[in-house]
Symmetry: C2
Subunit: 248 residues, 2 copies
C-alpha cells in the first residue's frame, strides 16, 4: 500500500517544464524502547524509494496531492497508506518549495504526526522501517532537513502543550509520562516536580487502577478529553472528521 512519489498523469509532456506539482509528506513520530539500553527512543517510519529520483534511499512517507482532496485529507491518506493506523495528533508543519529540492519542481506540504506505540501494527509493512531520529541515514531530497525541523517543533511544543499524550496509551503512570518527556527533550526531569506540574495542569484524571511491579504500585491516569492536545488557534475549526483521532 505504500505510495511513493511517481509521476502523475499529465495532459501533455510540454507542460512539464512549467508545472509545479504539490506533494504531501508526513513526519510520523512514535516511541520505541531500545532493547539494549532500555531507553525510549523517538522513531519515525521511512519508506525505501524504489525508483528515481533517489532510488534506494530512505524517504518520508508521502504522495501527490489529489485534485479532489484537502491537504489535511491527503496527509491522512498518506499516513494510513503507509502505516495503516490513524495518528493521535496531526498538524501541518511547513511548506517546502526550494527550486532545486527535486529534479522536477515539487512543493511539499509537510505534516507531522504522533502515533501511540501500541497502535503500530506488529506486522511490518513492505519497504517501511522505523528509524531512531538520533541515528538517521542520509535521506532522499531535503528530508533530513525536514525531520530536523519537525523535531525542533516537537521539542518546542512539548514544553507548552500536552502533545506528549499523543504518544501514550489511554492509561499511563506519571513515570511513563515523564519518560516520554525525557526522551523527547533529551534530559532527565525531577520526578517530584514533574508530578506537581502534571497534577496542576488540569488535564489528568486519576483512575483507581495501579501498575503493579516489583515495587510500590503506581497510579494509572487518563487524559481529560475536554482539553485539546494543543492550541491551534483559529485553525482548530478547520479540522475535518478524517483527521479526528481515536482520542475522541
Amino acid at each position: 500500500m505504500t505510495q511513493t512519489l511517481i509521476e502523475p498523469r499529465r495532459a501533455s509532456p510540454e507542460a512539464v517544464v512549467d508545472v509545479t506539482r504539490v506533494a504531501v509528506s508526513t513526519v510520523i513520530f512514535s516511541l520505541r524502547r531500545d532493547p539494549g539500553t532500555d531507553r525510549l527512543a523517538v522513531v519515525v517510519p521511512l519508506v525505501m524509494r524504489t525508483r528515481d529520483p533517489h532510488e534506494g534511499q530512505w524517504a518520508l512517507p508521502g504522495g501527490w496531492l489529489d485534485a479532489t482532496e484537502s491537504l489535511d485529507a491527503a496527509a491522512s491518506r498518506t499516513l494510513a497508506e503507509t502505516t495503516a493506523i490513524a495518528p493521535s495528533y496531526l498538524e501541518q508543519l511547513y511548506a517546502f518549495g526550494a527550486v532545486d529540492r527535486s529534479p522536477t519542481r515539487v512543493v511539499s506540504i509537510v505534516y507531522w504526526a504522533l502515533v501511540r506505540p501500541d497502535e503500530i501494527p506488529a506486522a511490518p509493512v513492505e519497504n517501511v522501517s522505523w528509524h531512531d531520529v538520533a541515528e538517521l541515514p542520509r535521506l532522499a531530497f531535503d528530508h533530513n532537513h525536514i525531520v530536523e525541523y519537525a523535531l525542533w517543533r516537537l521539542r518546542n511544543k512539548v514544553g507548552y502543550s500536552r502533545i506528549a499524550h499523543g504518544l501514550l496509551a489511554d492509561e499511563f503512570t506519571l513515570a511513563e509520562l515523564r519518560e516520554v518527556y525525557e526522551s523527547i527533550l533529551g534530559r532527565r526531569l525531577d520526578p517530584a516536580n514533574f508530578r506537581r506540574q502534571a497534577e496542576n495542569s488540569g488535564t489528568l484524571i486519576p483512575t483507581d487502577r495501579f501498575r503493579t511491579g516489583s515495587h510500590r504500585p503506581a497510579r494509572f491516569y487518563r487524559y481529560n478529553q475536554d482539553v485539546e492536545l494543543a492550541d491551534r488557534g483559529p485553525l482548530a475549526s478547520e479540522r475535518t472528521p478524517e483527521n479526528e483521532s481515536s482520542t475522541s
Copy 2:
C-alpha cells in the same frame, strides 16, 4: 504593479480539471495611528480584485508561484510588487488547501510580514488600501479566515520574541515600544514592569538621544542587531538574500 490572481498559461485546456495551482499570498502587518482616537491600530494592505472570482472584493496581495522561484522568493516578489517596500520580517504562515476555497483548485502558501510604518510609501498604490484588522470587510476567498489566523500567530509570537521591533523605526522610546505591544495585544501594560522586562531582555541598546516633548524627555533605544527577531529553529538557515530585510 499590483498582481492579482489571473489564470496562468497552461499547456492545454483539458488539463484544467486535473491541475492544482500554487499561489502565494502575504498578510502584511503594519501600524497606523487613528487620527480620531489617537490610538495605534494594526493594519493590513488589501488589493481590490478586478476580475472574477470575487471581482470587486478586497483580497490579500498575492500571485502565482513561478516555476523558477522559491516560495520565499515568491512571497518577497509579491510583497514588493504590492507595496514597493521590503518587510522587516517575513515568515511562512500556513498552506491553505481546502478543495472549495476557490472555484478552481488552488493551494495557497501564505506568508505574514511586518513593515515599519515609516517605510510605507506615502503615495498610494492603485487598487491597494490599508485596513484596520479590527474592522475588515468581507474578503475574497477564505482570506478573512487567513487574516484571523495570522493575527493569532502575531499575538502569540509577540509574547515570546521581539518581533514587535519589526514594526518600529531604528530608534524609539520605551513608551513607543510599549504602545506597539499594547496595540497588538489589545490591553494596557504597566510602564514600569514593561521597562524592566525590556531592559533585561538584552536586546535593547540605549542611545544618548532623547525624544523631547511637552514633558520629561524619553531616552531613545536601538535594537541589538546580533539578536534575531524570532527563533526560527533549523529553518533559519533557509533564509535567502532576497528575504533579508533592511534590519541587517
